[in-house]
Symmetry: C2
Subunit: 477 residues, 2 copies
């Protein structure tokens, strides 16, 4: 079928994939090689994710930690198998590209273009991975229970944004004599929780449907929205020295309207979804309508300058209420199994552990600030557990620990701060270290905070109450 | 999580997705918008595929025909929702890009870059679609039965390459006074069968495992290899006027070694696969190893200048022999349901029906040649059914009809021919028309040739013998 590969190899002529009026571009000529690169990258990502997850499982860590670490090993910090042009690396640094060049005798220009295209494809697949993950988390979450814990989740989210922000900003100004604006920026980088990592670990521990799990997920979603708003404030502060009030109000209103609106409309759409599914007679009658909805909501989330994953999560919550949900759960599982690991491995692959190297002077200056930020990042989220009210016997430590991972959000802050010249290099490095360590420490911490899983994950109903604090005896597995 | 979107909107600053050393490229800055475009394109593709398939089903046509036609409607020929830069169109022609520009206030340069990136992503997803389709077809095919019909399939393939090639070349030279080299080129464009379309229709008719179905699939695979070899010959002929014998021998040897080698090694790998699957304890324990194998074989097929889909088909054949096959079938289904439609809709979307417009002088000149090529294309493949020996009562018409669709292969020929200046515009147009019409006519023809499906597709064992020719009575459903 797609003979272009051969064509390019044989003739060196332009040969688009499906050339209707036959105006081939460079992109089109390279596209079979891009496919080769994507296939090889996926093989590496899957091998890494499976080996990492299995080793982690055997060492009694959450599998997702293994995927992250495996990502680090194949990524920019070590083997250079999966790297991205954003890290300032070029095609010649990539082992995959070296293999492709060896197979296809590419020119440097073609290699650069192919490297960028295949990195773009892997990036989008990773983003589809986290979208599908949040869709699945939405399907596994219980809207009624989420509503029940809504107040607690909101308070946890607000405390978890306010405490690290205040403590981080004030601490940097007083202890490290950092000027106000960079201190505010770094404080803001301490706020938002990485919902992807937390929810995946919860799911692996079978704790997603526990009261603690639902509070964490709810709070992480709200956190994400708060993070966007904090970012809008801080970014306009860094750019103009003033706060763009209109934009902040727009974000608050649109986020609230989006989440509440999608849940309200969801009640109506549910019935429509079931009617549509029952009418369809061709293959994919459940999975395609479900993904149309999920992708459309993700598109909408992105389009109104919120986030794709919020839309996907809302779509999952809505469809969780439909009668087709059990069948849908089963169908989404293999899809998620194939796409979600791409996200976690690339998160690991993108984390440059080089910033931990103390022989680089900039890193040394950053390391002491990093220690401070780490303490604030961990303590500032752990205290949120004690802001939960009216839930006697709840595992407060687990809730706090669940909010710890910062993931990419913090790195985005560091990125803007650095690009706008607000952050000094040591401060930027210390934010990156804080993000990497909270991301990697949260899975084992969360595992410890919840104690032994009562039932294996992904089968049956997980345990609701499983106190490790407060002196109650633990249920035996 | 991915706040870049907001960042770009708010600050206009560079904001890579996960900016480790924070060297942002234009690609990275645009990547959340690329994701928005991909999500919107996928929503459109899924809507089109489902609506098309359901209407086709209700009109008693194969659903895949509906997906192709729906693709034409959303594609370059009509609505311009899903278009590709290869067709010479720019971002401003794309409705998806117009929506993105309206949401994000993009500069023309950014729009072009985003248009190319998101088209590249959709193209790769479509190619992954046909790879997964062929993997699934391999899983559904029976290696033993394929071996049994191996001789017949080889003969059908050879006849199906030789007859249209000879008739096309000679006819063009004698009837239309086309010079030898362009005539050979056009004749070559008549050879290769589109295995994707044929196998999908067979699967939908529940005929994939019938003797006819297995002969068609086997012949289409061999056809594909022969097509690569014919292309190598014709391309070097067009380029240098001579045939590159070394390359032709390399292709023949590598193709044979690849297919036979993978089947022989498969017997060993089967046991290893089962052992690995049984050892794995984390999610995706079957599906990830299976896709590692499928993608690796696809990569290998591409890397040795054969085809990715041949590798995926071989991987499917091998795993079909393993004990985990039933479970694997169930797991691959939803994945295929989500990715395969992207292939068929984009095939339709890329087909420019503008070449059928008789008011354009070039098209008029092409139309009479096109009629001739169509006749050769159809008759030249239908006769192959009568080259099958030792199979009394077999549905010869169905076999011949199954070889009719040319799909992208013919377009690739037209593309190279045009790029190298060998083909005149009318000849090129006539090849494109021939490809489009054989692709669209084959599904209903195949449906007619097989008569009514005995059982609904995808469940149970399909009927083996179902003659419509030869006077035998048909088994009642």
């Amino acid at each position: 079928m797609f003979l272009n590969h051969t064509i390019t190899a044989l003739t060196g002529m332009t040969s688009p994939l499906f050339p209707s009026p036959l105006l081939a571009t460079v992109e089109a000529e390279n596209s079979p090689i891009v496919l080769t690169g994507v296939l090889l990258s996926l093989v590496i990502i899957y091998l890494a994710s499976k080996i990492g997850a299995e080793i982690a499982k055997r060492l009694d860590f959450p599998p997702v930690l293994g995927e992250l670490v495996a990502g680090v090993i194949v990524g920019v910090s070590a083997l250079h198998l999966i790297i991205f042009p954003e890290s300032g690396l070029s095609a010649s640094d990539s082992v995959v590209m070296t293999i492709l060049e060896w197979i296809n005798h590419l020119s440097p220009a073609a290699a650069t273009s192919i490297f960028e295209s295949q990195s773009e494809v892997i990036s989008v697949l990773a983003e589809l991975g986290v979208i599908i993950l949040l869709f699945e988390i939405g399907l596994e979450s219980d809207l009624r229970q989420l509503k029940e814990v809504g107040y607690q989740a909101t308070i946890v989210a607000c405390v978890g944004v306010a405490v690290p922000f205040a403590a981080g900003t004030v601490g940097l100004m007083t202890l490290f004599h950092v000027p106000a604006i960079p201190a505010i920026f770094a404080g803001a980088a301490l706020t938002a929780t990485s919902i992807g990592i937390t929810s995946k670990v919860l799911s692996e521990l079978g704790q997603l449907k526990s009261k603690e799990g639902q509070i964490i997920v709810g709070a992480a979603v709200i956190d994400d929205v708060l993070g966007i708003i904090v970012l809008a404030v801080v970014a306009s502060l860094a750019k103009t020295g003033e706060i763009d009030v209109t934009n902040v109000i727009y974000l608050i209103v649109s986020a609230t309207a989006f989440l509440i609106g999608s849940i309200l409309l969801g009640g109506i759409f549910n019935k429509t979804f079931e009617r549509i599914v029952n009418q369809l007679k061709t293959r994919g009658n459940i999975v395609i309508p479900a993904f149309i909805f999920a992708y459309f909501m993700a598109f909408l989330g992105n389009a109104i300058h919120l986030e794709a994953i919020l839309g996907a999560f809302a779509a999952g919550l809505v469809l969780d209420e439909s009668d087709a949900r059990n069948e849908l759960d089963e169908l989404v599982k293999p899809v998620a199994d194939l796409v979600v690991p791409i996200f976690f491995v690339t998160v690991g692959a993108r984390a440059d552990l080089g910033v931990l190297n103390p022989t680089v002077p900039e890193n040394r200056a950053g390391l002491s600030i990093a220690v401070f930020l780490m303490v604030v990042a961990i303590v500032g989220k752990i205290v949120t557990g004690w802001s939960v009210f009216g839930q006697p016997g709840i595992n407060r430590l687990a809730i706090g620990v669940g909010m710890i991972p910062r993931g990419e959000v913090g790195l985005v802050f560091a990125g803007i701060g650095s690009a706008s010249g607000v952050l000094s290099k040591p401060l930027e490095v210390s934010i990156i270290i804080m993000v990497i360590l909270t991301t990697f420490l949260a899975p084992p911490f969360l595992r410890l905070a919840f104690g032994e899983p009562v039932e294996p994950p992904s089968t049956g109903e997980p345990a609701r109450e499983q106190p490790v604090l407060g002196g109650e005896s633990q249920p035996t597995p």
